[in-house]
């Protein structure tokens, strides 16, 4: 049993500017949680609080039923893999692996057995006598993993473990970490700013922004039903097109698209009742050439095409309704909302485009960025 429970944990470095707003999370034993968010969102701070490297201002942390809020780092049974690996440069790989066991006064024979078992698991046997400086990035990463694994902690913390690897290696090591986590059945908290890592690795993702949790849930669910505009924009390979919309005479009007409320699913129409301004997000991959009977059609002009293999990203120019300047940028954390994107196959060549989107794939948000209707809400 090694479930982690955080209750109201918070931390601020300067008064009035919380690095981490009061935070609740229950991690089940064996679960892989990915904390994701842009830099400065508080994700690394959270790891340090859990590891005991920084004190929490308030709240309680419990691991496997023990309250560890005030425990020393070494008494928490937590291992951490750092972004720069933090291997001891003057010790060999074998000595690096053995170090936590030596501190725990494990017998010499047992240390030797565990080091060779761990080295075998991580394919590190040929490098046991080398110094960290003589290893490649991927090998150092494995040593850091090994040093964390070897003392069988209750909880693994990984702080951007892939960001010092080159792109080709990253996918490979990512798969290795996932495989290792499943095989050992360990509880893992993984911090990254990369939404691809978050979506591919996580049992559940925790999306953070400015020290506050935006949404918690399985990645597919968070992707399908983002709780707000920020999550919708952040947790996506290509961020969705977002446009202000107005509801006039039973029609949702985006400027370039008009949808009759009667054509929307009932829950969405109900969520729009009584509102006259909303934000509408459409994922680029949800658009396709329109037929005559499609109820939601976006009229746009192709301005630029970027071909990627057999697909293309088409930059669209479409009429937009006026909006409060800067608000959308603040809500999504992104810029360049003027241009819309469409992911198409490479055959499309026309400049004047009519693109359809299934009405239920429209994502609706209120003017504060919070999700409206069935695709969001109730999940945090």
């Amino acid at each position: 049993m090694s479930d982690l429970i955080l209750r109201g944990v918070s931390r601020s470095y300067a008064p009035g500017a919380p690095a981490l707003a009061p935070f609740d999370l229950a991690v089940r034993s064996g679960e892989l949680i990915v904390l994701v968010g842009p830099s400065g969102c508080g994700k690394s701070t959270l790891l340090k609080l859990i590891a005991g490297l920084e004190p929490a201002d308030a709240g309680r942390i419990a691991l496997g039923g023990r309250d560890i809020t005030r425990a020393e780092p070494r008494d928490r049974r937590i291992a951490m893999v750092f972004q720069n690996y933090a291997l001891y440069p003057h010790l060999s790989v074998a000595e690096n692996l053995a170090y936590p066991l030596r501190r725990a006064r494990v017998s010499r024979a047992e240390i030797a057995a565990k080091v060779s078992a761990t080295a075998a698991q991580l394919r590190l046997e040929p490098y046991l006598d080398r110094r960290p400086a003589q290893l490649s990035g991927g090998q150092k990463q494995r040593v850091a993993m090994g040093r964390a694994m070897i003392r069988e902690p209750d909880l693994f913390l990984l702080d951007e473990p892939l960001s010092n690897l080159d792109a080709a290696l990253r996918a490979h090591v990512r798969a290795e970490i996932a495989e290792l986590q499943r095989r050992l059945g360990v509880t893992m908290l993984y911090v990254t700013h990369d939404q691809v890592e978050a979506q591919t690795l996580a049992d559940r993702v925790v999306v953070l922004r400015d020290g506050a949790v935006q949404q918690v849930g399985p990645p597919r669910e968070v992707h399908a039903r983002p709780a707000n505009l920020f999550v919708a924009s952040f947790l996506a390979v290509v961020p969705p097109n977002v446009a202000p919309g107005r509801i006039v005479d039973g029609t949702l009007d985006l400027g370039a698209m008009q949808v009759a409320l009667d054509d929307l699913p009932d829950e969405m129409a109900a969520a729009l009742a009584g509102r006259d301004e909303v934000y509408v997000a459409i994922r680029p991959e949800a658009l396709s050439p329109a037929g005559p009977a499609d109820p939601a059609v976006l009229c746009a002009r192709a301005r630029r095409r970027e071909f990627v293999g057999r697909t293309q990203q088409v930059q669209l120019e479409a009429r937009r309704l006026p909006d409060l300047p800067g608000r959308l940028e603040r809500l999504t954390g992104r810029r360049d909302h003027e241009t819309m994107l469409w992911i198409a196959d490479d055959r499309s060549r026309e400049d004047a485009l009519r693109l359809a989107c299934r009405p239920e794939e429209l994502m609706l948000f209120d003017l504060d960025g919070a999700a409206l209707g069935p695709h969001g809400g109730g999940l945090v």
């Binding site: 928490r76 720069n84 933090a86 003057h90 690096n96 501190r103 960290p132």
Partner: protein
């Protein structure tokens, strides 16, 4: 053009430091009678001995206490270097890493002591050491100075360059403050430690006023103070002897420096990271 100028400037700077030593060396091979004879004419004889001789060195070896006094300087140098490096390491570690209120203030105050010359505190220092009963004692010489703001400054900078993650990894691996210092810090600041040691070793050769005050036994005196004692303004001084003794006195410092200087350039903290 600018490169040639730079080279010239460097050569001039090097010459400015080397010239006194070269003059010392050449004078130590002279006869006393020849010492000032050519001072006015400015030929090669002004700088080089006409008939080099080792007589002065032979006379140094006949001085009954010189070997002992040189050993005193070397031993004090070794002790001061080691003790100062240790105290500096502990202070620097605390100032760089331990979370505490007013850390910057303490550091500033410590650096401020650099502005107080030893000469100013000498009289009260003498009485304190006297009250401790340590006048004429080796430890009385050493004790007031086993702490060095420069050493702390040097090592604090070096420790701040060591990635904090290394400390944190060590803490999570089961290390306490002592273990973090031993495993995460010290192996990564070796170069700075050697620099600190060497610096404080050589510093002892500059000591003059304090040992002159606090050490009145001849066999406990430091070589440089004893050499100064050979200069007697009332009688004719054996200057060749003084110069030869000075050459012999700087030899241990020179040799130690030559031996350890290669560690100074190869002092980059290497981490397990990229």
């Amino acid at each position: 053009m600018s490169r040639a100028l730079l080279l010239l400037a460097r050569a001039a700077a090097a010459a400015a430091f080397l010239a006194p030593i070269a003059l010392l060396l050449s004078a130590s091979f002279r006869e006393n009678g020849e010492m000032y004879r050519h001072a006015a004419e400015l030929g090669w004889r002004t700088f080089l001995p006409a008939a080099p001789t080792l007589d002065a060195y032979a006379r140094v070896l006949e001085l009954p206490l010189f070997a002992r006094q040189l050993l005193n300087t070397v031993a004090l140098g070794g002790f001061m270097a080691t003790a100062t490096t240790l105290t500096s390491l502990f202070a620097a570690y605390a100032l760089a890493r331990l979370p505490m209120r007013g850390r910057g203030g303490v550091f500033g105050l410590m650096l401020f002591t650099l502005f107080v010359p030893v000469d100013v505190v000498l009289p009260p220092l003498f009485f304190v050491v006297q009250d401790l009963g340590l006048i004429d004692d080796f430890s009385g010489l050493a004790l007031p100075f086993v702490f060095s703001p420069i050493g702390v400054y040097l090592l604090r900078q070096a420790i701040q360059e060591v990635p904090r993650e290394l400390d944190q990894a060590c803490m999570l691996d089961g290390g306490g403050a002592w273990e973090v210092l031993r495993t995460a810090i010290v192996p990564n600041v070796r170069g700075a430690l050697i620099a600190c040691w060497l610096m404080h070793f050589v510093f002892v050769w500059e000591w003059y006023l304090w040992p002159l005050t606090a050490m009145r036994r001849d066999d406990g005196q430091l070589a440089q103070v004893a050499i100064a004692g050979l200069i007697d303004p009332l009688r004719s001084t054996d200057y060749a002897l003084v110069f030869a003794a000075a050459v012999l006195a700087i030899l241990p410092a020179f040799a130690t420096f030559a031996l350890l200087q290669r560690f100074l350039t190869a002092s980059h903290a290497t981490t397990g990271g990229k």
